[in-house]
């Protein structure tokens, strides 16, 4: 039973006993309690009073313990707060680390993939050079409004090229005939068969240039503008930056 309950019970008992005593003192003679009984009641009252005092001392001790417990509870709360804070930080760290590991894994996989099929940097640069040589990626640095050069081949350039010469040059007229046969075959619908003539006409050679068969030999096709080659090589490093600016515009 708790100390509070004990104290309250003692008070109730004291009340009862004191009421008994008072009633006895005002009662008529024949209802009065005998001497020893009266003495017993009084003794009981004194005992209850002493019990009350002792229980009050106990309550004082418990109050001291209660103060200590309050201090401890405050400490425990502080620890709880710190534990929560640390837990949040650890969770954050875990998340960051797992993201980093995942990305590192991706990078390792792409490194493995790249190592499986290596490409020489010479070839890459050569192809990049060829792609940008036609001025289709970025305008030439000296280009102004009114410059006749265009990023696509103009009609003058086309007429100067192979298709234009086909029509004008009678020596190569039979090649035009072959072209017509090829288009007929396509119209008849031979799905999986590549016509032999077309196969031999344009072919990639190992050096990376297109060769066209003319009679028994083959003629390398010039797909770049030699005049602009040197200036392109010089400006290639800055080209990417200028192309991005032109793209944004």
């Amino acid at each position: 039973m708790s100390t509070k309950e004990k104290l309250l019970y003692i008070i109730d008992d004291i009340e009862l006993i004191s009421k008994e005593i008072i009633e006895n003192s005002i009662a008529p003679k024949h209802l009065k309690l005998s001497g020893p009984e009266y003495a017993q009641l009084t003794e009981l009252l004194m005992a209850k009073n002493n019990e009350l005092n002792e229980t009050l001392k106990l309550a004082a001790e418990q109050a001291q313990i209660d103060k200590k417990m309050d201090i401890l509870k405050a400490e425990v709360e502080r620890q709880d707060h710190d534990i929560n804070h640390l837990q949040k930080q650890l969770k954050e760290a875990e998340q960051i680390l797992s993201t980093a590991i995942y990305q590192a894994n991706q990078k390792l996989q792409s490194i493995a993939r790249a190592n499986k099929r290596p490409v020489s940097s010479e070839e890459l640069i050569k192809f990049a050079h060829r792609i940008s040589a036609s001025n289709a990626i970025c305008a030439p640095l000296t280009w102004q409004q009114g410059d006749p050069r265009r990023p696509y081949p103009t009609d003058i350039e086309m007429r100067l090229g192979l298709l234009g010469r086909l029509m004008s040059d009678p020596i190569n007229g039979h090649l035009l005939q072959q072209q017509n046969n090829i288009s007929d075959l396509h119209r008849q619908g031979h799905p999986g068969e590549i016509p032999a003539a077309q196969q031999n006409q344009f072919a990639w050679h190992p050096s990376g240039e297109i060769h066209m068969s003319v009679g028994q030999g083959s003629v390398p096709m010039d797909t770049r503008n030699h005049k602009q080659e040197t200036e392109d090589v010089e400006v290639m490093s800055t080209d990417s930056s200028s192309s991005s600016s032109s793209d944004s515009q």
Partner: protein
């Protein structure tokens, strides 16, 4: 409003030293005044009036004692229970401090030199 009342109740938490339960003197006074035998009626009526007042005083003292007991701190449990709680709190605090120390100062990440 309610919180104000609660604050007032909390402020009223008193120590045992503040308590003043003096019941027995009043009982003694009542008995004495009853035992007194007065010869004249005016004294008797006055005495009986005093007596009823003292009885009320006794009642008031008892109620006051009960109210003050309710305000004493730390007596919700018996002493053994309270000491058990205290021990439990101490253990809890110790465990939590150890946990924090362990995780704050552990360093399991060794940087490997290639």
């Amino acid at each position: 409003m309610e919180s104000d009342e609660q604050n007032q109740e909390l402020d009223k938490r008193i120590t045992v030293e503040d308590l003043n339960i003096e019941i027995l003197p009043v009982v003694y006074e009542i008995i004495r005044s009853v035992e007194k035998d007065h010869h004249d009626n005016t004294a008797k009526t006055r005495e009986s009036q005093d007596c009823s007042q003292k009885v009320l005083e006794l009642q008031k003292r008892l109620d006051q004692a009960r109210a003050e007991i309710r305000l004493l701190p730390g007596i919700e449990y018996s002493k053994e229970q309270q000491l058990n709680h205290l021990e439990a709190l101490k253990t809890q605090l110790k465990l939590k401090q150890e946990l924090l120390h362990k995780y704050r100062y552990m360093y399991s990440f060794e940087v490997q030199k290639p």
